[in-house]
């Protein structure tokens, strides 16, 4: 990243190759929208180029790029004024409705749909901390740096987020 900062922007390709998968996963878990997530990854790297002079170095690149990613996600959310996964939620809800019947048994796929639906209905902040801790395979220290929290606060929040997920999941199961 220091080379990119110094003007060797061609090196951005290497950073892109290294982080594109994780960033795509981050956005996909938050939006449930593949094409949108691809665009948001582009936005992150555009911002990396645009704001490369603000990178302080000292090996904090991961924290820095996740700050960019979070801002991109927030901007996208504000721009759309509603979560982009609404359509998918309707799809999942439709799925669940269609499959219900007198002999209804929840299959593995339906469980996945239900869990996705529960995640999408969660408070955005709690969903984000679950995405960071469960799917992004970040260390608690790294999550703490990204969210500006202590390590113990991260762990407590993950636990609380899981409580909310469980509550939403159970409420959907009983519908």
């Amino acid at each position: 990243m220091l080379k990119v900062k110094a003007g060797d922007t061609g090196k951005l390709s290497l950073l892109y190759e290294r982080h594109k998968g994780k960033l795509f996963g981050f956005f996909y878990r938050l939006t449930s929208d593949g094409p949108l997530s691809e665009d948001l990854v582009q936005n992150v790297f555009y911002r990396v180029l645009k704001y490369r002079h603000t990178y302080a170095g000292k090996g904090q690149f991961l924290t820095w790029i996740y700050h960019m990613a979070r801002n991109v996600n927030i901007d996208n959310y504000r721009k759309n004024k509603r979560m982009n996964y609404q359509e998918d939620m309707q799809e999942w809800e439709g799925h669940l409705k269609d499959e219900k019947g007198p002999d209804y048994e929840m299959s593995r796929n339906q469980e996945i749909d239900l869990l996705n639906l529960a995640l999408s209905k969660m408070n955005a902040e709690k969903r984000e901390i679950l995405v960071l801790s469960k799917f992004q395979e970040l260390k608690y220290e790294e999550i703490g740096n990204i969210l500006d929290l202590s390590v113990s606060a991260v762990k407590v929040r993950v636990h609380r987020a899981m409580h909310e997920l469980k509550a939403v999941y159970q409420s959907l199961e009983t519908i």
Partner: protein, 264 residues
């Protein structure tokens, strides 16, 4: 241990990351508090269930868009970028090839005129027109590939994407670009374009041969991804050759090892 502390340690407990001492402390706490134990187990089950949530792969379009964004940015930053001159530069080869342009116009004009005037217009005539358009596209592509500006050469590769069933000359030009173009972004789009033609044996073997020629980590990475997509076992030898290179990027080295594990 109290409930608050146990809550803080829950994530490490579930992931079996607690040290021996804390682990024992947690075990006895949970034994004394069966309700919390049940709660932790339920949350743990949900946590593990999240492993089965699917994550699709991003499309190849994401890479193409990224390369286009980066090239655009670099060109803009170089301050040589001027919209009018770029448009002019882009179409310069067309104007330079006045004869070809005139020929194409003549052919198209004659063809359309003939079709309109003749009641016996046949599919053969349409086929002839298609051939002329194909040749024109091919000529534009080959001319643009010779241009000094990277943007022009990228445009050439884009034109090749629009050609259905490209002939050997086009494929040779794309392979030459992949192996020799001085600009990494042009080489990258050429690699992606060739990946789309991988059903052609000439393309496939050209992509394999290109592996050990590449010095850019980005292209080496991209070729590894392409070979995994194609599950091309014949590329193993070339990757092994690449691994022998002393100055190979550490990240690429890891990538190639993973690629070899997947392919073998």
């Amino acid at each position: 241990m109290n409930r608050e502390e146990a809550s803080e340690l829950w994530i490490e407990y579930i992931q079996k990351e607690l040290g021996k001492e804390k682990s024992q402390e947690m075990a006895s706490f949970l034994q004394e508090n069966p309700d919390i134990k049940k709660e932790f187990e339920e949350l743990g089950s949900l946590w593990n269930k999240m492993d089965s949530l699917p994550l699709p792969d991003p499309s190849n379009q994401m890479d193409v868009k990224f390369q286009a964004m980066l090239s655009g940015y670099e060109i803009a930053q170089s301050k040589k970028f001027d919209l009018i001159s770029s448009i002019r530069a882009l179409f310069q080869p067309l104007f330079e090839s006045k004869m070809a342009l005139a020929s194409m116009m003549l052919f198209v004009g004659l063809g359309v005129g003939y079709l309109l005037s003749s009641e016996s217009a046949t599919n053969q005539q349409l086929l002839n027109l298609n051939t002329e358009v194909y040749e024109m596209k091919k000529m534009m592509m080959l001319t643009l590939l010779e241009q000094p500006k990277a943007l022009d050469r990228m445009k050439a590769v884009q034109i090749s994407n629009g050609i259905i069933e490209p002939d050997d000359k086009i494929i040779e030009a794309l392979l030459k670009t992949l192996n020799n173009d001085p600009n990494v972004n042009v080489r990258m789009v050429a690699a992606q374009s060739l990946a789309g033609l991988a059903n052609n044996p000439m393309v496939r073997s050209g992509l394999i041969q290109a592996i050990s020629n590449q010095t850019s980590p980005v292209i080496q990475n991209a070729l590894a991804d392409i070979m995994i997509d194609l599950m091309e076992k014949k590329s193993v030898g070339e990757f092994e050759k690449l691994l022998q290179q002393q100055n190979l990027d550490t990240l690429v080295k890891e990538k190639i090892k993973t690629t070899l594990e997947t392919l073998i």
